[in-house]
Symmetry: C7
Subunit: 72 residues, 7 copies
């Protein structure tokens, strides 16, 4: 068994896909997170809305509330 | 009587269907969960939107917040 | 006076209707629940969307969050 | 001053109207409630959607989350 | 400075407008409230939906969750 | 650094704009607030819906839940 | 690893983009925040709705609840 936070921790410094409610997606390097909110820090993050690239961010603090899944 | 978390635990390493709000569904092997949030780790997960396959993920951390049901 | 959780407990092993937000309904045998979330385990559960049968599940963990009512 | 839970308690065994989000309404005899969730047990409950009768339930556990008002 | 709960308390026995999400409004005499939920008891309450009168209630327990504002 | 609650406190007795979800806005004198909910008391408050003035209130208790921002 | 709140703190006095649910965005100088709500104080903040500038605020208290991301 692999606990969600353990997998999240193992995903640090790797590229992840973060899917939010409303068809919004971020793809970037996971630079940090907090517990228990699962707020994330992403580096070099692309922002996609319904799979269309909308923007790029050097760093991003993503609130955990709106996250549907994180794909390492 | 079988408590929800006991059934969830018994479902580890088996294939589960995870239904989210908004017609989104994941089908994969249950690799982990946490308590009390019911965040899940799925392996080899298919992502379906209104029953149409949209993607595949080696590993997936699914937040418990958006889950409607888990079908072991 | 009959408290909600007492009635829920008395409904174990009986067939219940579980109505969720969004016109989704499950009909199955109540096999378990937890407190205080009111997550449920249903057996032999039919899934109905706007009264049309959409699927059948041997076992189902239904999160309490989305439940509107349980009818024993 | 009459506190909400005191009025709720005084309404036991009387017929109440329970209005939920989304135009759903239940009319039945208040058989129980819990604190602090305000989950309710209704007996002989009619279910109305936008004032049209949709169903009847001997007993109903209504989650407090979705309640807008209770009219004793 | 006048704290919200102090103003609410000072409004007891007076007529208040209670605005909810979704264009629903209640106008009645404030008969009680609780802390911290801000559930209310209203007497002789008119129910308005988008400013059109829809009903009248002798007494009403209004859950605090859905309240946008209370106007004493 | 200026903490949100410190700025809110410094805004007492001044005119503020309070933006809620759904295009609703209140403009009035900030007469009070509570912690941690950020419920507010406004005096001489105009109510605007999508920038059109809909009403005026001598006093208003606005629940913090629905607030998007407060502009002193 | 860089924790979300550490990055937020390091972003003080710098210009940030704050994206909210519903296509609303604020661009301003981060002047403060609180923990754990992540309510923010912004200075000289532009308000954009679907990328169109709608307003300007000297100071703004933005509730953390509605925030999707903060981009330093």
């Amino acid at each position: 068994m692999e606990k969600p936070l353990k997998l999240l921790h193992a995903s640090l410094n790797g590229r992840v896909i973060v899917e939010l409610r409303g068809g919004v997606e971020y793809q970037g390097v996971l630079d940090g997170y907090d517990v228990p909110h699962m707020n994330l820090v992403l580096k070099n993050a692309d922002e996609l809305v319904h799979t269309i690239k909308k923007g790029k961010h050097d760093k991003l603090i993503v609130r955990g509330d709106n996250i549907i899944y994180i794909s390492p």
